[in-house]
Symmetry: C2
Subunit: 359 residues, 2 copies
């Protein structure tokens, strides 16, 4: 069976659109060189936090993020129904906390920007924050409560997308490396694997930071994606849990999961493809987490890992047709790939459908 469209890379930048297309009866095949989510998606924090992650000057990205946030509730309900599994979508909201008065100035500055953009963000003093999260450090002078910023477990999200694709008749093949894109008369004809050729009229490159390893991509049009390393550590959240809300301090964020894990991240390091954990990286996020939630001192360490964020120069993802007919990009989701999953999926579907109709 010849697929209608091949996705290269089983991270959320590919899986979302593959699922939606499969449900529309399009024959999709997702090829992943490792396991689904092993590259970047399964290593992410999973914050759905346009307001908490807001950076000055990134209004275009914010617009795309807010569009995605609006899609999340329906997207997750449908995904959980179709995959018959839960993805730990939690709507407790996010707290942005300051650790001292200087830090509170920075946060108030951000809050001004939130209000300019009409984002729903509530300013709170330290006592009000500790009312919501009694474990927060006594010295925290204040911060912001973002009721609308949520979270999901990225590993479960990836698993659910794979199941939903398969339940809709699509294919996901793991341990299968694409060596090159092949073209015929200037248009995509398929992909070359180690073990042979698969013909397909359309190919979506959703390979994240590993984009450049694929031969045959149009160099002039190829998105520039570079890896930015993040170090993470997971500890036991305990019972009763140390935390219910996502909490962002100045030097670390803390994400409680329903399975009892508390995920702590993360560094932003321009270190190429070096997957190392470093003494300083671990130290910085541990201290950053401890200064907002001192109770983690006794928490058992469950694991440590690093991931590579696929960053572009302007931090905007590239979800579009390429200069080669039949070839599409869905890469460069940076810090926000999990959040952007529904909007990316919908945009890719409409780009694909528009292109197929024209063709």
């Amino acid at each position: 069976m010849t697929p209608d469209v091949i996705f290269i890379g089983a991270g959320v930048a590919g899986l979302g659109a593959a699922w939606l297309l499969a449900e529309k009866g399009v024959k999709v095949l997702v090829l992943e060189r490792d396991e689904a989510g092993a590259g970047t998606s399964g290593r992410a924090g999973g914050m759905l936090a346009p307001s908490a992650e807001l950076k000055f000057g990134e209004e275009e990205l914010l617009k795309f993020e807010l569009e995605s946030m609006r899609l999340w509730p329906d997207f997750v309900a449908r995904l959980e129904a179709r995959s018959q599994m839960k993805v730990d979508y939690r709507t407790h909201g996010t707290l942005i906390v300051a650790v001292d008065r200087d830090d509170l100035e920075r946060i108030d500055h951000l809050w001004t920007y939130h209000r300019e953009l009409e984002l729903e963000v509530q300013r709170m003093d330290g006592d009000a924050l500790r009312e919501l999260e009694p474990g927060l450090a006594p010295g925290i002078p204040g911060g912001l409560y973002v009721r609308g910023d949520h979270q999901v477990d990225p590993r479960l999200l990836v698993q659910a997308l794979v199941k939903a694709i398969r339940n809709a008749g699509g294919s996901v093949r793991e341990g299968c490396r694409v060596l090159a894109i092949e073209t015929e008369a200037g248009a995509v004809s398929g992909v070359q694997l180690e073990e042979g050729f698969i013909s397909a009229p359309s190919v979506v490159v959703s390979a994240g930071v590993w984009l450049k390893e694929i031969e045959g991509l149009p160099k002039d049009d190829r998105p520039r994606v570079r890896p930015v390393r993040g170090q993470m550590i997971a500890v036991e959240c305990g019972e009763p849990p140390l935390l219910k809300h996502v909490v962002r301090g100045p030097d670390a964020y803390l994400i409680p999961r329903s399975d009892g894990e508390l995920v702590i991240g993360s560094t932003m390091e321009e270190q190429g493809f070096d997957p190392a954990l470093t003494a300083g990286g671990l130290m910085d996020i541990l201290v950053g987490a401890w200064e907002v939630l001192p109770g983690i001192h006794q928490a058992r360490v469950l694991g440590t890992w690093t991931g590579f964020r696929p960053m572009t120069l302007d931090n905007m993802p590239q979800v579009r047709a390429s200069s080669v007919p039949g070839l599409f990009w869905s890469v460069g989701h940076g810090r926000n790939g999990i959040l952007l999953t529904p909007a990316t999926a919908e945009r890719m579907v409409s780009v694909y459908e528009g292109s197929v109709l024209v063709g």
Copy 2:
């Protein structure tokens, strides 16, 4: 072949004496439930540092340690010759560094005690310390240089002892759990394993913190040994190495190995047999190491682990005959088991020989 003496536990508290006895023609059998060194010895830092580890009021322990220090050079030379391997015995000396003026007061207090005990310890200012170790933090105001405090790689030490025992005709059996000591007419007759009974006229219990799991020990005379957890992390020492000397700061020690590892330790935690790493434990030793050697910030993490020190109430090891004829103790070496290896071995040999002559 019936052994003359069985050692229960292949940590350094047993292996040292087993080797010396094997070389004297005694038929020794060492039984280890896991791998040699897996319990405590292989997880140790390996500092040979009576002066740097000195605690007020522990003169008796110090005497035993100094005796062991005098034995180390000959012990290691003979061990390396007999085992045909190196154990990374390094004699660069140890630096005890203060991180601020208060801390320097504490160190000067310790130095007074060193001089009372006529230990050879040199007081240095910060610049002199940085002359020896250029990577030390610029703010370090001073400290002590202990030329005579050395180090060894505990994992190599364990391997070398096992090889030397075997080369001398002794046996070391790993993966072999002793369930009970058996007696006959009030004297030791052998040990009971899961897979059968081994008869022997003498048994040395060198099982460290796991002592209590062995049935049939005389309860009134059994040493009280409790586990005190230590958390450790190893990072890449780099080239040129970040460090040559062992360095002790107020909150962490750093031990450079010739194979490029830099071992950082350690916490002292009364947590029973819980082997967990904790967020706070890792954070404390990382911060403790970073404040004396800022260059570790970029150092790649190679591994993390915990160990249990076999502590006694008075911190003195018990190397002696028990109340049961043929049964001996070599347990409770606390923080200093590696340092005490030669003196423990010699003491055990003389206790054993004295007892056999009397018998």
